[in-house]
């Protein structure tokens, strides 16, 4: 894995907000093709800020984010061609149908020649009910919206995927289905960065798991390492302890 170029890379990344809060503190991160990296941490630990920095929603104070080798700050439009994003609450255009939303975001993602059947195929793949394809999104449940959100990421077919607490608030079945889709995307070679509070699912899906505290990455374990360690205990211990630099 390490002889490949990382799709998502944070190089000594820091972000201090105007109010003085240091949200991300010298973060170094490399996520490779076919890898799921789960970022754990309490609220305010810096997980979402990290994702926002990758999306160039906010500029870093120091350091650099790279997507597919492209500096996100220097060339954000080029960088965003290689990354998809699914937020905690996927919010789409309520007056549009699922297909119309998918069509719009597919075109924004550069997929301009898709047929209705292509959209249907993607929505079937993420297990969205057929009857919802031509329904207005405003009446969708959160699970349905998350599925549609991941279908937007699927149809864009970018090598990097950023997921900001995507299973938060989903019922167990919907969360399980969501993770199955992630597993498929991983097998397709996508580099996935997922922030989450769900320790169990992080352990289940993550090839690597990192714990953030006060902007710092205080712990990182591989799937293999976690076979012999209790992630819950590690997490609780790190939450209690002073920040450590690894």
């Amino acid at each position: 894995m390490t002889n490949q170029q990382p799709i998502l890379k944070a190089d000594d990344l820091s972000k201090r907000y105007e109010d003085g809060v240091l949200a991300v503190d010298h973060l170094n991160l490399n996520i490779y093709p076919g890898e799921v990296y789960c970022l754990l941490g309490a609220n305010g630990a810096g997980k979402t800020t990290t994702i926002n920095l990758f999306l160039n929603f906010i500029p870093p104070t120091t350091g650099t984010c790279y997507v597919n080798g492209i500096d996100v700050t220097k060339d954000p439009l080029e960088a965003k061609k290689y990354v998809s994003f699914v937020s905690e609450n996927v919010m789409l255009y309520g007056n549009f149908t699922a297909r119309q939303n998918l069509d719009f975001f597919a075109k924004l993602g550069g997929k301009t020649n898709l047929a209705k059947s292509d959209y249907y195929q993607v929505m079937r793949r993420v297990s969205l009910q057929e009857k919802a394809f031509e329904q207005r999104v405003k009446n969708f449940s959160k699970g349905m919206r998350q599925k549609l959100g991941i279908s937007i990421a699927v149809i864009k077919d970018a090598p990097g995927i950023l997921l900001d607490e995507p299973t938060s608030g989903l019922d167990p079945k919907a969360a399980e289905e969501f993770l199955e889709i992630l597993e498929e995307l991983k097998k397709e070679g996508k580099a996935i960065l997922m922030s989450t509070h769900d320790i169990f699912r992080a352990k289940e899906i993550g090839d690597r798991v990192g714990i953030m505290k006060e902007g710092r990455l205080v712990m990182e374990r591989t799937r293999e390492e976690l076979q012999y360690e209790d992630l819950v205990k590690i997490y609780i211990d790190y939450m209690k302890s002073e920040p450590l630099k690894i």
Partner: protein, 470 residues
């Protein structure tokens, strides 16, 4: 990319209730307003024609002017008052000399013969295009745009869009063009429908100038709607939530529409006060009284030296001297009155210009004024009527009233008028303000409206480029 964003904005707008409300309001209010205004104009036109007919029938000769009706001048109602009723109901549209014998120089009294049976119309204002655009369309522009950016941010869709390789400039341009068209097309369609309906009833003017005015009126209307539209985009890009954006916009709207123009008028009157017409009339009367008193004293002195024999040379010399005294005081009186008129006109003109300049900082004022001028129901037309009346006054004085002769004798005197009583009475023919003058007059306001549009859009554009979509 731009096409995708544009189509999405149009589709989003068309699938919302707001668009259909806009369309319904335009299709109802604009034709209704035009129709009501047209009926009102036709009634006032009929009244004007009737008044002119009756006056001309009764005032055919100079003697009718001198001894019966006096002279009158009427301004026709503004044919394009469906654009803006403007100042039609308050500014002078009729001028008259005192009925019966009047001492020269005669000054025509200005008045307004428009009346409203239903006083509620004064209370609420007319349903002309100015009302529909300044109130309804500007509010709709605000309602259409307050959530354009902050609403999408609040909803989360903006983040989803910006996570793609989409230039922000294209997003804001697509929002501006698509939503702008969604707002302007129903407006223009409704206006065209209204004009077609009016044309079918034969109510539209045939003069090319009138069509220029209608076209410019539509342009100025679109510019005002654009100002509030771009202001909405700007405020939306400055806020993070839709409701604060809406509240801010409504407060700004109230200030620009209702508060600031009133403050401007009050400020101008305080900075540059102008005497009222009634006070000016009193001052003139005082001058006349003083001059006549002095004149009469001199005439009396001469009269005391005159013999009773009308045929004597001494009487004729006295009579000549009296005429000279009379003419001298007449000239003095005319000069005094003209000085007052000049002063008042100059002060009024300065005050009006000051009011307009202060008020122009509100785009609503920059819209209302040119609309009134284009409809020929504003200050320009009022000034034109005043000037025409002054010219008519000069004709009346030169041809009739200045020919009055006064002979003062020790115990009384006599007044005669040397004008031919059977001669046709001078007729007042009103010439409206030339089209070029109107266009020249409204150019600063049009330029300001364009500037407001550019400034607010530039503000929205620049702010959006740095907008935090989280």
């Amino acid at each position: 990319m731009m096409r995708t964003l544009f189509i999405k904005e149009v589709r989003d707008a068309l699938s919302s209730r707001r668009f259909w409300v806009i369309l319904a309001l335009c299709l109802i209010l604009i034709p209704l307003g035009v129709e009501v205004s047209l009926k009102d104009y036709q009634t006032r036109l009929q009244n004007y024609r009737e008044a002119v007919r009756i006056y001309r029938e009764e005032t055919k000769q100079v003697q009718d002017v001198l001894y019966k009706e006096g002279a009158k001048a009427f301004a026709p109602p503004a044919q394009l008052s469906f654009l803006s009723l403007g100042l039609e109901l308050v500014l002078p549209n009729v001028a008259e000399t005192p009925a019966g014998r009047a001492d020269p120089p005669v000054v025509m009294r200005l008045g307004n013969n428009e009346s409203r049976d239903n006083l509620y119309e004064f209370f609420t204002g007319p349903l002309d295009l100015v009302f529909v655009v300044a109130v309804v369309m500007s509010l709709l522009a605000v309602i259409l745009t307050y959530g354009a950016i902050s609403g999408e941010k609040e909803l989360g869709t903006l983040g989803q869009v910006l996570s793609n390789s989409v230039p922000r400039a294209k997003i804001i341009l697509a929002k501006a063009t698509a939503n702008g068209l969604v707002l302007v097309i129903p407006f223009l369609l409704s206006l065209i429908l209204s004009l077609t309906l009016v044309e079918l009833q034969g109510g539209l003017p045939s003069a090319a100038g009138a069509w220029t005015s209608i076209g410019l009126g539509a342009l100025v209307s679109v510019l005002l709607v654009g100002v509030f539209f771009n202001l909405g985009l700007f405020v939306s890009s400055l806020t993070k939530q839709a409701v604060p954006a809406l509240v801010t916009l409504l407060l700004v709207w109230v200030f620009l529409y209702g508060v600031y123009p009133r403050l401007a008028a009050a400020a101008a009157q305080i900075l540059h006060p102008v005497k009222s017409d009634a006070l000016v009339a009193l001052e003139k009367s005082q001058i006349k009284h003083d001059i006549e008193k002095a004149r009469d004293a001199e005439l009396e002195t001469v009269a005391q030296t005159m013999p009773r024999d009308f045929k004597s040379e001494a009487f004729k010399a006295g009579q000549k001297k009296q005429q000279e005294i009379h003419d001298r005081y007449q000239a003095k009186l005319e000069a005094g009155w003209k000085a007052i008129d000049r002063d008042v006109e100059a002060r009024r003109s300065t005050r009006d210009a000051l009011t307009a300049d202060i008020a122009r900082l509100s785009p609503v004022s920059s819209f209302v004024r040119p609309m009134a001028e284009l409809a020929r129901s504003g200050w320009l037309e009022s000034g034109q009527f005043r000037r025409e009346v002054r010219q008519y006054e000069e004709v009346l004085n030169r041809e009739i009233f200045d020919k009055q002769r006064i002979i003062r004798m020790p115990r009384g005197g006599m007044i005669s008028n040397e004008a031919d009583p059977k001669a046709p009475a001078p007729v007042f023919a009103y010439v409206p303000t030339p089209e070029d003058d109107v266009v020249r007059d409204i150019l600063p306001d049009v330029a300001l409206l364009i500037l407001f549009n550019l400034v607010f859009f530039a503000g929205a554009f620049v702010t959006f480029l740095r907008y935090d979509p989280r």
